[in-house]
């Protein structure tokens, strides 16, 4: 009755106009290599380049430039979040009897305090991650981590997903940034945050809970209508036995809760466990197509053509779901540097915010940025639902655009914008100043009329206002909303 759907059927995702030449799409790119292409690569494989990074990348030969992005350096030296609140320490500190010894009002007070500290801890964790995106030498590692966060969604601090679990999952995503996706899916399936968020921790032999089994197939690997309700039930049985042990603070497998009987799942029969279910799912060509669609939507352009999905899915399968070679192919491909892909995505709020700090040379992303992100419709560790952030036109409403403009207005007026950065060197001549601003912030992507109006505005503005108002106006140009 209904054709197979994938992420591309989400409302508000627009495919570029014109025809794709699929025979060339994934072939190596042979066109010009300049600041414009380098900035494009840095926006997609990261959070946008600083003026210095763009220049350095553009000066490298093309092949080495792509390799430097994909083979990112180790990031073990980057600091871990300062302190992640774990309520277990407070529970253990209660003394004999623990929670049970408290009367109802003491319990309420105890949990209110836990809640308060968890909220504060999440704020710190978000600031930490945003700041890591800003300063990491391995931008693609963070970009993939953000992709996985929207793909294998989990929300903290809902349903008992603690800040510690959110961080643990975040680390898992990062450690598999360009790793093997099948292996990551096995690991995510028994990751504490996921066990709790999608109820696999409550999935036991006598009362199987289908929530994870269903979402895993619908949203993580296959898409709707690729399995039956019976497949959901059988997959749920396979994962029975996994749970989260709050005392130990980790996921555990309890054999007595596991249904070790024979299951028939997606046409195969055996005494399957959760890993087997993942393997069977990943053996389906549809799984590679679904993953390919998600990656192309996030890194290339929205609503990719079925033929392109098929070609990229074949690439993913050829590498047995190892993402490093597949993503290297994409970032060096003809279609990636084609006019189809250029400025073809709407920046997510996180890309918008982190990129703005980067291009302006402002450090320390703090709580004000988080407030702005919430108004723009993206709160890290709190996707709107299990399907993640839909993207595309969904980011663009008058209110979220107001939030974007106001974020820039506040930032360029703040003390944090120091004239010691490149922006202090903007030429005095208004026409030249406009050209510099547009070249540095937008790699030239502004209409002649916009450039001349920016020049008109700068002409006669004071030196301070020239920099602050100029940056604001340049960032109000349409290209700045587009990645």
């Amino acid at each position: 009755m209904v054709a197979a759907v994938t992420h591309s059927d989400v409302l508000g995702l627009k495919r570029p106009a014109g025809e794709l030449d699929v025979s060339r799409a994934l072939m190596p790119y042979r066109g010009s290599w300049s600041r414009r292409e380098a900035a494009h690569l840095l926006r997609r494989a990261g959070f946008g380049g600083t003026p210095g990074e763009i220049a350095r990348l553009a000066a490298m030969p093309f092949g080495r430039a792509v390799e430097s992005v994909v083979r990112f350096p180790s990031t073990e030296d980057l600091p871990a979040p300062a302190d992640i609140y774990d309520s277990r320490q407070d529970v253990l500190g209660l003394g004999p009897g623990g929670l049970r010894a408290l009367d109802p009002s003491e319990r309420r007070a105890f949990f209110a305090n836990v809640r308060k500290r968890e909220v504060r801890s999440m704020l710190a964790l978000r600031s930490w991650w945003l700041d890591r995106m800003r300063k990491t030498p391995a931008a693609l590692q963070e970009k993939m981590t953000l992709f996985f966060h929207g793909h294998f969604t989990t929300a903290a601090i809902q349903k008992g997903v603690t800040p510690a679990m959110a961080y643990e999952q975040n680390r898992l995503f990062r450690s598999y940034a360009l790793g093997n996706l099948r292996e990551l899916t096995r690991r995510v399936s028994v990751d504490p945050a996921m066990l709790i968020y999608l109820d696999n921790a409550r999935n036991e032999k006598r009362h199987p809970n289908e929530n994870y089994a269903r979402e895993m197939m619908e949203l993580f690997t296959l898409g709707v209508d690729q399995y039956t309700e019976e497949d959901v039930r059988q997959a749920a049985r396979a994962w029975t036995g996994w749970t989260y042990n709050r005392r130990l603070g980790r996921a555990v497998f309890v054999p007595g809760r596991h249904d070790d009987g024979v299951k028939t799942f997606l046409g195969q029969t055996g005494k399957f466990n959760g890993d087997d279910v993942v393997d069977i799912v990943f053996s389906r060509p549809q799984c590679a197509r679904f993953i390919a669609t998600g990656l192309l939507n996030f890194f290339l352009y929205n609503d990719p053509e079925p033929q392109l999905v098929e070609a990229f899915a074949a690439e993913i399968r050829r590498h047995d779901y190892d993402l490093a070679p597949a993503m290297a192919t994409l970032f060096a491909s003809d279609v990636f540097f084609s006019g189809r892909a250029y400025r073809a995505l709407v920046k997510s709020p996180v890309e918008f915010v982190v990129g703005t700090y980067r291009v302006l040379g402002i450090d320390r992303i703090g709580v004000p940025a988080q407030r702005a992100l919430a108004q723009m419709g993206q709160i890290l560790f709190a996707p709107p639902n299990v399907a993640g952030w839909p993207g595309g036109e969904n980011w663009l409403t008058s209110d979220t655009l107001i939030a974007r403009e106001n974020f820039v207005a506040r930032l360029v007026q703040s003390e944090a914008l120091r004239p010691s950065s490149w922006i202090g060197e903007v030429p005095m001549n208004a026409t030249q100043a406009a050209r510099t601003l547009i070249a540095t912030i937008l790699t030239g992507d502004a209409s002649p009329a916009a450039a001349s109006q920016l020049g008109d505005y700068l002409d006669g503005a004071g030196s301070e206002e020239r920099v602050r108002g100029g940056a604001y106006l340049t960032m109000a140009m349409p290209a700045y909303q587009l990645a």
């Binding site: 352009y301 349409p478 909303q481």
Partner: protein
């Protein structure tokens, strides 16, 4: 039981005519129906009970012994139920809402759902919002209404989502619907200097960019709306005051803003608010009781506020949830994703009472309440009898009205 047979049986007396899109192309624009004087001042408020509200513990079938068998721990004792008739009653936390029901302000429509129910939040929400089961729609049902209702095109506020994120129900092809979570924040700071603002305005109208992007036109359109909207909205709703006591909850704040918009000069016809999450797989009682209590008190305050300003008869409010929940409770004192559930119509135009068949708890559909009223019949009723337009072009098919509206 076979689906087809079930469908025909359940809907005996009703005829469902599914039609293809082409039959209802844009050429068949909506035409106001005769006999609805004043419909141009009417407002429709949609409240999404997000996450799957458990219908059986919201409108409790206490008169059915099967209810207590399938809900050994979650079942609400008959003595506590706020009884509507000999069979059903509201959850005990819904006292304010029951008082509204007693005044004839509430219609309860039971067993609302659709054929071939989907159990995924994502997909089922999409089905309710697009009103397009069995296919993948790209516009919301209220978006299609806004596109073709002949409302003034220059008005930026024909529809408003009082929400952080745009709901699919309001996604339109030719109407930009803003999501305005609060008035605070809906204003541009860029006018610290008139010149900046003037230059900004000119930039936003220029389409001659040195690149092609599928999103460029949209960015320019939304930039224009952001400027015009943020300049005009505060004045349009200025000076509004109320004595109504809204609960200090997200829904309370959303409905307070909705009442202010209704009382202002925005010309808004459709508002959307969100409440949840009702996804109660675990320890359902505490969560659902809190959410239903908040809902009940917030809706009461909303209509108090509207009445204070003489707007209560102008505003029809409807709830919906993507699905009800499994009939039997699970081992975690919760319930899993189900199918049909009741919804509420409140306020203007409502003929108070209980509509539709009581839930059948013994002949379930894979453990769920089978639907007896197609949700599109409820939408058709709202479109035709409240908003005053033909429903078939919006719903892409003819669905019989139910009797819940005057």
């Amino acid at each position: 039981m076979k689906r087809g047979g079930f469908l025909l049986g359940a809907l005996s007396g009703l005829t469902v005519v599914a039609a293809t899109d082409s039959l209802f192309s844009r050429a068949l624009a909506q035409t106001p129906l005769p006999g609805l004087p004043g419909s141009e001042r009417r407002v429709f408020v949609l409240v999404n009970l997000q996450g799957g509200n458990d219908g059986l513990n919201c409108v409790v079938p206490f008169g059915n012994p099967a209810y207590y068998r399938v809900r050994p721990t979650l079942g609400i004792p008959q003595a506590q139920v706020l009884q509507l008739d000999s069979q059903i009653g509201f959850n005990p936390v819904m006292k304010s809402f029951k008082a509204m029901y007693d005044k004839g302000m509430v219609a309860v429509v039971q067993g609302v759902g659709y054929p071939d129910p989907d159990h995924s939040h994502f997909r089922s929400t999409e089905i309710w919002q697009t009103a397009a089961p069995g296919r993948y729609g790209h516009t919301g049902w209220l978006g299609r209404y806004l596109d073709d209702a002949g409302l003034p095109k220059e008005n930026l506020f024909n529809g408003i989502a009082v929400a952080q994120v745009m709901p699919e129900a309001l996604v339109a092809e030719r109407t930009d619907v803003p999501a305005i979570a609060g008035l605070h924040g809906y204003g541009l700071l860029g006018d610290r200097n008139r010149a900046v603002r003037a230059a900004y305005g000119r930039l936003a109208t220029d389409e001659n960019e040195p690149y092609a992007s599928p999103y460029l036109a949209r960015v320019l359109e939304i930039e224009d709306h952001a400027q015009r909207g943020s300049e005009t909205l505060p004045a349009l709703v200025a000076g509004y005051k109320t004595r109504a006591s809204y609960p200090e909850t997200p829904l309370g704040r959303s409905l307070a803003l909705a009442a202010q918009i209704v009382g202002g000069k925005t010309g808004t016809r459709v508002l959307y608010v969100q409440h949840g999450s009702f996804d109660t797989h675990v320890s359902q009682k505490a969560t659902q009781d809190r959410l239903l209590g908040e809902f009940s008190d917030a809706v009461k305050a909303f209509y108090d506020d509207l009445r204070e300003h003489g707007n209560d008869r102008r505003v029809l409010t409807m709830t919906f949830s993507e699905f009800g929940r499994r009939v039997a409770e699970n081992a975690s004192a919760g319930t899993d994703h189900g199918e049909a559930s009741p919804l509420f119509l409140v306020g203007g135009g409502v003929k108070g009472g209980v509509y539709g068949a009581y839930p059948n708890l013994t002949e379930t559909h894979i453990g769920n309440v089978p639907f007896t009223t197609d949700f599109r019949s409820v939408y058709a009723t709202v479109l035709e009898r409240w908003l005053g337009v033909a429903s078939a072009p919006v719903l892409r098919g003819s669905f019989p009205s139910i009797g819940a509206l005057v």
